[in-house]
């Protein structure tokens, strides 16, 4: 426990949450080599840093050690250091990762390139402005039910709803999605995170809102070509493509692209 020591000014009681203590640095005799993006929305460049490697060190430890000892103006966003808050999302060697969940040793002594999430405007160094996502979130039709909570629901009806609720809103799936990152469809495409949210709402047994028209038109579900990068980077292992996006695409197909269902609706007058 490191409560109240010099490296833990916030009084956090778990050592895992505090920066690596100075006395641990250098024990392994090895060095970690990082190239960190330094700049802002106007541009910038990668600057090389070397720090003593500590066994079990995560990239966030290395970045915080650099911030403490070599570059006090280095901007990095972090909070829980336990892969629960989704604050420290960044790109490591070109892939979105949580800085707090990625061990330095994974890179076998090679250079580690650390940069901000590129699908969003860079504020400074490793910090991107992800506020666009909160605007999209406001546009998602909220839960609607004619019944008053608390609801009586059965386990077998809600078991599919646990997985989407695991989302920590790190927005790495949004960052890696080529529809946003490469094609910049931000106004027309909600992105994987919000398909996960829509799936939770759409499959909720008590929700009565019709979301399929929104998914097809406003949220641009058709722009997704299911190449699964979002699933690959999810730090909480949500099967975004298989369990959220494809089921929603199938429901949209029921409504808009299935000629037999269209004919049945015409016959029934519904």
């Amino acid at each position: 426990m490191s409560e109240g020591n010099g490296n833990n000014p916030g009084g956090v009681t778990s050592k895992a949450h505090s920066p690596v203590p100075d006395e641990d640095l250098g024990k392994s005799g090895k060095m970690a080599k990082l190239k960190i993006f330094r700049g802002d929305a106007e541009g910038g460049e990668e600057i090389g840093y070397e720090i003593p490697l500590v066994e079990g060190m995560v990239v966030l430890d290395a970045v915080l050690a650099i911030q403490a000892q070599q570059a006090p103006d280095l901007a990095v966003r972090w909070n829980c250091k336990a892969a629960h808050c989704g604050s420290c999302s960044a790109e490591i060697n070109g892939r979105p990762k949580l800085l707090c969940k990625t061990r330095v040793e994974e890179y076998d002594g090679g250079e580690i390139h650390v940069g901000p999430m590129r699908a969003f405007p860079v504020i400074k160094d490793l910090v991107s402005d992800v506020s666009w996502n909160y605007e999209v979130s406001k546009g998602i039709k909220p839960f609607q039910s004619s019944e008053q909570a608390p609801f009586t629901m059965y386990e077998e009806d809600v078991e599919r709803l646990y997985e989407p609720k695991k989302c920590i809103e790190c927005f790495m799936c949004q960052d890696v999605c080529h529809v946003l990152r490469t094609h910049h469809k931000h106004p027309e495409f909600a992105g994987p995170r919000f398909f996960v949210r829509n799936q939770w709402l759409e499959m909720h047994p008590m929700d009565e809102a019709d979301r399929l028209a929104d998914l097809k038109e406003d949220n641009g579900l058709g722009f997704c070509n299911i190449t699964k990068c979002c699933t690959e980077v999810c730090p909480v292992d949500i099967h975004i493509t298989d369990n959220s996006i494809i089921p929603l695409k199938e429901r949209v197909a029921d409504e808009y692209y299935d000629p037999a269902k269209w004919l049945m609706r015409k016959i029934r007058g519904s």
């Binding site: 060697n93 892939r95 094609h183 997704c224 070509n225 199938e250 197909a253 692209y257």
Partner: protein, 248 residues
């Protein structure tokens, strides 16, 4: 398997799309050659590309062969399959070729031209109809497989019968792990306890979901099994290898 997967992930990003292009192109050319130029029946065996056997209409030009009336069903099923869509968007269209930043930067399509599955690829939404058609073909493949266990009218097991059985099992597993089937069988319901037979549908849904976790593997295994079954068929037909009897 996990060590193979880990080693695969360490390869450069372009290895996967290039491999997919090579495998799918070879399979496409092989299939085209088989259904265009070569026979499909030998003793108790029927090539998987020729099932079910149908007569060639006299009025049809010779370059359109009888199995071409069948092959569009499994071909369409695979072309619209959610897994193969991922594979060919990445491999053939580089849309994107891989997930890393360096790979995404090589995506050739300009941002203003990207339509995803909103333009021509919106047709992939008919996947469920190819699923229904594939089940019909699958029924004939099972019938053909049963016949291979009765060479000359009495029960017997040959190496060929085992190969045909493995092939049809893999094809069935691939079809039963389909995302559209998963939706139709129970994924389209929000409340299982609210509908008649809901518990059965939930169990079926969970069963298909378990198979669906390995849908990519079933897609590749079944593709290779069709290829290997047909190669075995060609080898015994040409007398290159004997079809060894195991029982009977």
């Amino acid at each position: 398997m996990s060590s193979i997967a880990a080693a695969w992930r360490r390869l450069p990003w372009w290895v996967e799309p290039v491999s997919v292009v090579i495998v799918l192109s070879v399979f496409g050319l092989y299939s085209f050659a088989i259904v265009s130029f070569l026979p499909g029946e030998y003793k108790e065996y029927l090539s998987p590309f020729y099932s079910p056997p149908i007569p060639h209409p006299d009025w049809m030009p010779d370059f359109i062969t009888a199995p071409m009336f069948i092959i569009w069903m499994p071909l369409g099923f695979r072309a619209t399959c959610y897994y193969y869509r991922k594979a060919y968007y990445r491999a053939f269209f580089w849309d994107p070729p891989a997930c890393q930043a360096g790979a995404q930067e090589r995506e050739p399509r300009k941002a203003e031209n990207y339509r995803g599955e909103r333009a021509v690829f919106v047709l992939n939404n008919v996947h469920r109809y190819f699923l229904y058609a594939s089940f019909v073909v699958l029924a004939f493949l099972w019938y053909d497989t049963v016949l291979t266990f009765f060479p000359g009218g009495s029960f017997g097991v040959k190496v060929g019968s085992i190969i045909w059985l493995a092939n049809v099992v893999l094809l069935s597993t691939y079809s039963l792990s389909c995302h559209s089937l998963r939706h139709i069988i129970g994924g389209n319901k929000d409340c299982y306890t609210c509908v008649r037979g809901g518990n059965t549908r939930r169990k079926l849904y969970n069963g298909v979901s378990r198979l669906n976790l390995q849908h990519p593997q079933w897609a590749w295994f079944s593709l290779f099994s069709v290829l290997l079954t047909d190669i075995y068929f060609r080898l015994i037909q040409a007398g290159v290898i004997p079809d060894l009897t195991i029982l009977g």
